[in-house]
Structures are given as C-alpha cells and as structure tokens.
Symmetry: C2
Subunit: 581 residues, 2 copies
C-alpha cells in the first residue's frame, strides 16, 4: 500500500552502495550542467537568476518521492520557461514582486492540474497533442527562444512574444549594439557550437574513454561561464557596458505559501493548463525512452503525480514551473543514474552552489547565458521534420505547419491551441467518412466480400453493405444520407442490410440516424435490416424502441439474412471447417 502511495519506498528498500555510486556520479555531472542552465532559463522566463537555482532544488526532491522514472532529471527547461514568460507577461509587467508571485501561482496551479489529472487517471488527454503538433511546437519555440536571446548577445533592449515583434524590436535597437557584449556573446556561441559538434571526437582522439569524453563535452558551458567571468574581471568589461548577472542572494530558497489570489489564478488558468500538458508530454517521452533501455517501465499517471509534486514544491520554495528536461535526463542516464536519488543528490549540489558559489557569478555576462540557451534550443529546431511529414501525410503536415506559423506569428499559446484544434478537426473529417463496402457472396461459401475486389454474387433486390467503423455523431448523418441515396437510386431494391460486424459502438446520435434512415427507407418502400450486430451493441439497442420500429429484422449472420431475403440468388454452401470453427 505504502509502495503505491510513495514509489520511493520501493527503490529505497533495495538501495545499496553500487546504486549510490552510480547516482552520485550522475548527480555531479548533472549539477555542473544544471548551474548555467538554471540561471539561463530563469533569465528566459523573465525571472531573477536565483529563481532558476531554487527551481532546481526542492522540485527534484518532490519528483524523487512520487515519480516513477529512475533517470528523469527535473528542473527548469527552455520551452516551459518561454511559456512562463508569455503567460506572466500577459498578466503583469515584467520584473518586480508581482512577476515572481505570478510565477509561484503558475507553478502551484500547474502542480495542482498535474496531480488532478494523475488522480483522475486522465493522462490520456496528453495524447491530444499529436506528434506533428509537438514537433512543430518545439521547433517554432526554439526559433522564438533563440530570437529572444539575441538582445543579450547584442547588448540591447528588446522584447516581444512573437517573431514579428522580436525582429522589429531588435531591428529598432541594433544601432545601440554594445561591441564588448557582442564579442563575448559571439565567441561564447561559437565556442559552444564547436564543443557540441567537435569536442567529443577530439577528446576521444586524445585517448579519453567514451564516457569521460562525453562528460568533458557536457562541461562546455561551465568552461564558457568561467572564461567569460574571468574576461569581465580582468578587462573590467562591466564598466564597458557588458551586462552581468549581478548580485545573487546567497542561501537556501525562501519557503512560503503561493499567493492565493482568485483573480490571478483565473487569469493564469488557461496558461497553466497548456504548461502542464506540454511539460508532461515532453517529460514522459524522455522518461519512457530511457526506461525502455533498461527494460524498466514508467507509469504515466504516476508521472503526472511526480511532476505535480515537483511543481507544488517549486511554488512553495521560490521557483517557477518545472518539468523533466530532455538533454539533462539523457546525461543523467548516461552518467549512470540508477534511482531517483540521483535527483536528490543533484538538489544537494545545487543547494551547495546557492549557499557558497553565488558570489562567483556576480560578473557572469548575460550574453554567456544567452549563448548557452541559443545553442541548446537550436538543437531542438528540426525543420527537416516538415519535409518528412509532408512525404508521409498531408494532414499531419498541415497540423505541423499551422502550429509553427501560429507560434511564430501569434505566440506559444495560440500556436499549441491552433495545432490541437486543427488535428482534431482533420481527424474528425477523416473518421466522419468511414469505409463502406458493398458486399456479395463468395460462391459456395458463407462468406461475403467487397464487390469491388472479389468475384462475388449479389442480389438485385437486396442491398448489402458493411461499415468498417463504430457509428458515432461525426459519421452518423453521413451514413444515413449515403445509405439512403444509394438504396433509393436503384428502384429494384426492396431490402437494405447493414452489416455491423465492425461496429463496436452506436452512440445516441447514430441511433437517431438509424431511426431516421429506417423511417426514410420505410417512406420509400424499402425495408431496413441489420446483421452480425455485436453482443454489447445489441444489448444497448434492446434498451430502446429502435428494434420495435425497425421495418426489417436483425440477423445473426449475413448468410442468414440473404437466405431469408433472397433465397433464389443465395447459394447453398457446404460449411467449410473454417466457418464451422
């Protein structure tokens, strides 16, 4: 019982020195990676840098207690930081106490929504985000984030939540470019791209093992941080106009209750829903991929509760919305993390940083952090996916293209909404036109097959049609009209038999359509029958007056129907062994 409430009890029981060794090594590497990232993403979210550190402590402990993945590294991530900036930007002016308080409220709501979805076992709602929509969303967000960081690299003032606003704002301020800032930003960006693409093979060639070479490459941002701090110190670049992070309060996060302002919560609700779902989808994908590699499994509804706990923790310890990060979790896994304790140890590492190392970051140029972000998010941009999706499916391409265009043109929230809406409409448009097969008898058997694909015998006066889909509101009216039109087009037809072998459900709208069809066919002098209705569907129909009103019959098999309605055309069949079975 306690295992179900707190999954950590399970892995703590089996904990030993070997697992600790793996977890501790992973925690050290992830901490080194997380320090610049957490500062940078807080900057992206429009929050003071220490908020990034705070969001990398207690939330990790919250996830470790309730989550189900052994490798997921939780904390601030790029896309959620961008969405946080957009959400709070709508309800308050950037900076100041209100902004940070809104971030806490957003984390609290996001946590509550995730936990509620988990308890109600509604994780499937995340599947409404189709893959092309997520992929388009991440690509467009990456471009938007990269554009938003250019101001730090140029050392100018700019802002905006759409590509148009950002580019316009950058173009307006480009004359003010601060050259020392640009030098640092451009060098850091170039260095980080080089590290990402070339350092690992180079370290291997110098004789390092693959894991050590990988760890070396991941330390690239830390090297950039140290080098640019040194440059600012030695060359007094802050006096030359290079914007630096400045004083970061030293110490552990402030514990508090998130602001309980109903007006603010109501305003933030739509954003909190989107942040929760996007964060969950991003996190659960990487958690599943990594779990599979060790033949472990994660429980999606359990993940919702774990991420919810992380966000509640963030809201009570001066943070902002968090989720499982993609790159960071892969590093955690590769470095040998075996249990969620790796996350707790990472939190300890960040805690020590907050206690003792923050004075070192005073001279850290914001341009360096921006370079870290740009290099990280541009790796998420995958415009090639557009072409691959176009090749595979035009409908999926449309959903992806509309998501990208809307994110860039109208912002993240409009983009995800438009993408999900369009996917739904396109899906319904397809399922609103199910496959209908007019069937005839395979001579000498009890089998009935599509007249277009098989040599079969058909009756001139009985119209036999099979529908390959459950009947529900989106296809009910179409089915009614199509069957009616096809039945009355041929004046010789006296009976219509609908074969329901593939019908798993008939909803109330479809029942109404069948009643209407029965009535319309009756007015036209044609009887309406069903055959091969599944048991559960028949049970539902028996609870209505439909079967009383039906002008025809319900036949157990379509052969029975044909033998009764047109015995002259229907051939006797020697039952084959397959049919008897």
């Amino acid at each position: 019982m306690i295992d179900r409430l707190l999954p950590c009890v399970g892995w703590l029981k089996r904990y030993n020195g070997e697992t600790f060794h793996g977890d501790a090594l992973a925690a050290v590497i992830v901490t080194i990676m997380l320090i610049p990232q957490s500062l940078a993403y807080a900057l992206l979210a429009g929050l003071p840098p220490e908020v990034g550190l705070y969001a990398s402590m207690l939330p990790l402990v919250g996830y470790a207690l309730f989550g189900s993945s052994n490798a997921l590294a939780v904390g601030p991530v790029a896309v959620v930081s961008l969405m946080t900036a957009a959400a709070i930007g709508k309800v308050t002016a950037a900076g100041g106490v209100d902004y940070a308080a809104a971030a806490l409220a957003l984390a609290a709501m996001s946590g509550a929504i995730l936990i509620a979805l988990g308890l109600l076992r509604l994780g499937f709602l995340a599947s409404l985000l189709s893959h092309p929509v997520i992929s388009g969303f991440i690509t467009a967000s990456g471009l938007l984030i990269a554009a938003s960081q250019l101001k730090h690299i140029l050392g100018i003032e700019a802002g905006g939540h759409t590509l148009y606003d950002l580019v316009g704002s950058l173009a307006g301020g480009i004359d003010e470019t601060n050259l020392p800032t640009l030098a640092i930003g451009a060098l850091a960006t170039a260095f980080l791209f080089w590290v990402r693409a070339r350092l690992k093979p180079l370290l291997r060639r110098f004789g390092l093992g693959p894991r050590l070479a990988d760890a070396g490459a991941k330390a690239g941002p830390v090297v950039a941080v140290i080098a640019t701090i040194a440059a600012v110190e030695l060359l007094a670049l802050d006096a030359a106009g290079v914007a630096v992070v400045g004083a970061i309060p030293q110490g552990l996060p402030p514990l508090s209750v998130p602001p309980l302002d109903p007006g603010l919560w109501l305003e933030l609700l739509p954003s909190a829903v989107l942040i929760s779902i996007v964060g969950f989808v991003e996190s659960v994908s990487v958690a599943q991929t990594l779990a599979a590699k060790r033949r472990e499994r994660i429980a999606p509804n359990r993940e919702l509760i774990g991420l919810g706990a992380a966000n509640i923790a963030a809201s009570m310890s001066g943070g902002y919305p968090v989720t499982g990060g993609f790159a960071r979790s892969v590093v955690n896994f590769d470095a040998g993390a075996r249990t969620p304790l790796a996350g707790v140890l990472t939190a300890v590492g960040i805690g020590l940083t907050a206690l003792f190392l923050t004075p070192l970051f005073h001279q850290l140029p914001k341009a360096t952090l921006a370079a870290t972000i740009v290099v990280a998010v541009l790796s998420l941009v995958d415009l090639g996916a557009l072409k691959r999706t176009w090749t595979y499916s035009k409908a999926d391409f449309a959903a992806m293209a509309v998501t990208i265009a809307t994110v860039l043109g109208f912002g993240v929230e409009a983009g995800i909404t438009a993408g999900v809406g369009l996917s739904l409409v396109l899906f319904l448009a397809r399922s609103a036109r199910p496959h209908l097969a007019v069937v005839g008898q395979v001579p000498g058997t009890h089998h009935f097959r599509n007249v277009r694909r098989h040599a079969v015998v058909t009756s001139p006066k009985v119209f036999s049609v099979r529908v390959d889909e459950s009947l529900y509101f989106a296809n009910a009216r179409w089915l009614e009209d199509t069957l009616y039109d096809r039945a009355v087009a041929d004046k010789a037809i006296e009976d219509v038999v609908l074969i329901c072998a593939a019908v798993n459900d008939i909803d109330a709208s479809a029942l109404e359509a069948l009643e209407g069809l029965n009535e319309r066919l009756h007015a036209a002098g044609v009887r309406f029958h069903l055959s091969e209705v599944k048991g559960p569907v028949m049970d539902k129909l028996k609870r209505t007056h439909f079967l009383d009103a039906l002008t025809g019959q319900v036949f157990l098999s379509h052969y029975d129907a044909m033998a009764a309605l047109d015995p002259d055309t229907t051939q006797d069949a020697e039952l084959s062994p397959a049919v008897r079975a």
Copy 2:
C-alpha cells in the same frame, strides 16, 4: 450547368397548374401562421416588430433560388432569435440604431459563413453537433425563451441571458405586475394550449375533413391576435397599462448594404459561427425528413448555399438571421407545398401584410405575442430525452446534461460550446482505447481468433495481437505502452506480431509510436513484426525509414508470420474453399 448553379431552373421547367395550386394553398396557410410568429420572434430577438416581417420576405426568395428542399419554410425562428439577442446584447445596449445594424451584420456574416461552408463542401462540420447536444440545447433554449417572455405576460420590466438572471429579474419586478396585461397574457396562453391540444379533434367531430381541421387549428394564434386587439380597442386597455406593439412602419423593407465595420464583425464572429451551424442543423433535419416522405432528396451543401443566400438577403433588406423553421415547414408540407415557389408566394403574402395590414397591429398586446412564443417553445422542451439518453448511454447523457445546465446557467453560446467540447473529449477518450485481441490459431485452419472467445492454439514465444481501429494520435501512445508492457511481462516472448487487418490509416503520431515500440522492444531483446497490412497503409510506410528500422518483418498473412516464427506450434492447414476464395 445552369441547373447546378440555380436549382430553381430545374423545378421551374416542370412547373404547371397543379403544382401552383398546391404551392398557393400552402403559402396562404403559412402566411397566416407566419404573421404573428414573425412579429413575436423579432420581439424575442430584441428588434422592432417590422424586422420580423422584413426577415420573412426576401430571405424566402433567396432560399427559393438556391435551396434544394421543396417544403422548407424559411424565416425567423425561436432559437436563432434567442441566439441573436444574446450575440447582439454582448456588443451593444438593447434598442437604437446600433442594435438593428448589428442584426444586419450578424445576418450578413452568417450568410457568408454558410455559403463558404457550402462552397468548400464543409457541411460535415455540422455533424460535430451530436444529437444529445442539439436536443439538450433546444430544450434548454425553450426553457430560457419561455422564461424571457414572462415579463411580457406579467407586464413588467426584466431581462437577462441566463435562467438565474431572468428569474432574479422577474422576482424583483413581480410587484409591478399589470393585472390587465396578466389577464390577456394568461388567457391567450391558456387558449393557445387548448387549441394545440384539443381544437383539431373537436373540429373533426364537427364534421370537418382532416386537412381543414388541421388548418383551423393552425389559425389559433391569428384568432388570439384578433381577439386581443379587439379587447384592447373596446376596453381601452392600452390606457390601463397594457403594452402594445404600437406603430409599425407601413411598406416594403428598406434595401441597404449591411454595415461594414471590421471591429463589429470581429466581435460578432464567434456568435455568427454558432448561429450558422445551429440554424443549419435545425433546418437540414426537417428538410431531410420531409424530402424522404416524397422520396425526394436534399443536398446538404446546396442547403448551406440556400440558407446562406437567405441570410444575405435578410442582411440587405432590414432583417436578421433566419433559417428553416421546424413547425412551419411541416405545415407547409402538409398543406401541399410542391416547390420552393410556395416560399416566394408566402413572401408575397407577408409583403401584402407589410403594405396594407400593419396599422391593424397597432393595438396588438405584446402579451399575446409572448403567449404565442411560450406555447411554441414549450413544445420543443423534451426533458424525457434526458431519461431516454441515460438509459441508452451514460456518455451521451453527460453531454446532454452539461449542455442543458450550461445554457441555463451561462447562456446559449457557452452551452453549445461546452456540449460540443465535452462530446469530443468523451469520443476521443473512447477511441483512445481501441479493442486489442490476443489471437491464436483455429486448429487446422489459416484462421486466427481471439483467445478469450475461441479454442485456439497459441505460441509460447510469439505474441500475436490484433488492433481493431486505425492508429492515430489519440491511441498511439496507449498502444505503444500497452503492447510493450504485455510483451515484456512474459520473459519467454521473443517476437511480437501486430495484425493490422483493421487498420485503415496510421498517422504520423502512430508511426512515431510504432518506431518507439520497435526501439523499446529491441532494447528488451524482442523483435517486432507486422502482418496483414493493407495496401494504402503499406504504401505510406514505404515512404519512411520505418521498414528499414523494423527489427522484424512484414508478413502478408498472419499464418505466414506464425509459420515463419514458430513452425513447431503452427499447424499445417488444408486450405478450405472459403480461404482459397
């Protein structure tokens, strides 16, 4: 060609004296019915009474030119009038020029939307309104409309767009009740209920034929109108505080271009979309039912254009949004209307009324019109549908109940939106969990059936599973997780074969899920195969790298798969005639 653009050319060619006789008689009866209705519904929409007459002239001609139903009677209807009041109430204060101008803009937009849907052949979008949502919407609107008319019957001031506001507002004003108004309103209501329930059998007993008796009963509202006008005149009740319709301008409708104010159009857009779709659904249902009785057919996309033309005509001739009315169309049909010319003749009848009879309506009590509305809309209220739907399907009941509660509590637009949203989510929740059947071989055959329902032979090392649904974003992730969990739960399993005989499509999200499943199973040492993939699906898969990455094979038949993967367990089969065919 001209027939396709203007369906009227077709019926005009075949026009003769007999069809004219039917059309003319129907037009007279519908005109008598329409006069009080058009005045009353304009009142309900918050517009001056003459607007109701204007909306009953040119729109009928517009529909006759482009529509496809021979019996549909177009004009102002209750539900659309209520939605018009709600829509305009949001953007402008009641009364005055702006209100009427907004009504014209709403009709123009509604017309444009309907024509666009028709030209783009998007009529299927109307099927997103499931039957329980429409039924709940009409019931709740009927209650709301009846409540909104009580103020006229009591002779007090009241208002509101939700039941709560209406009841509160009525309760606040009930002390001001005008007794002569209440007397007229209550008597008219009682009389109209009596006419509806009892008059037709009574007339039959007095020896009238069924059609004449029916026509007599339909004239009930006209009798109430004449009697109450006489009462006001004779007893000078207007001086006693009975609100009367007052001066109605005499003459034909003013022709004009609808106001082209982009800000107003943008504000009205969501309402115009809802009005168009609700109006179309209401109209097309009755048109189809009536067409079927004469073995005729209507074309839904043609209907969209006909109703669109009617609304454009309304917007250019001082009207407001119109659609095909249910009761009115049935009367038109029963009275013998044979072609859309009956509508043109009705328009002429209303035109003559507007030219010569409007002075007679000066002393018509608003309470009489309110009584007409109350009696008409209460016949739409069908609370029994709640019980029937509960018996048939809990999901459909939920959609209906939420629609009713939201319309009553938050208004018509919120209600229809909530109903559609909930139906979609409930449908996706069901289709997100398709039926999965683990199958085994029917001994001695090439057939494979569900292990739970048949005595079949299964292989200990091959997991054979059939999915009975197309694979798409809402079920992709679930399928991936479920298949993975079931495959790795049994350590003896070496191969998984997914039988795709019922898979009509695999979208990009499902492709991604299959790729993920293939990778995860590979990591777990299990190969992944497909069997019985349909031709079009296979064509799509061949355009991707999926088949290269697949650790297993694609088998034409599941028997081939089993014979290759576990020849020891798979039994040879003598091909039965059915299988050979």
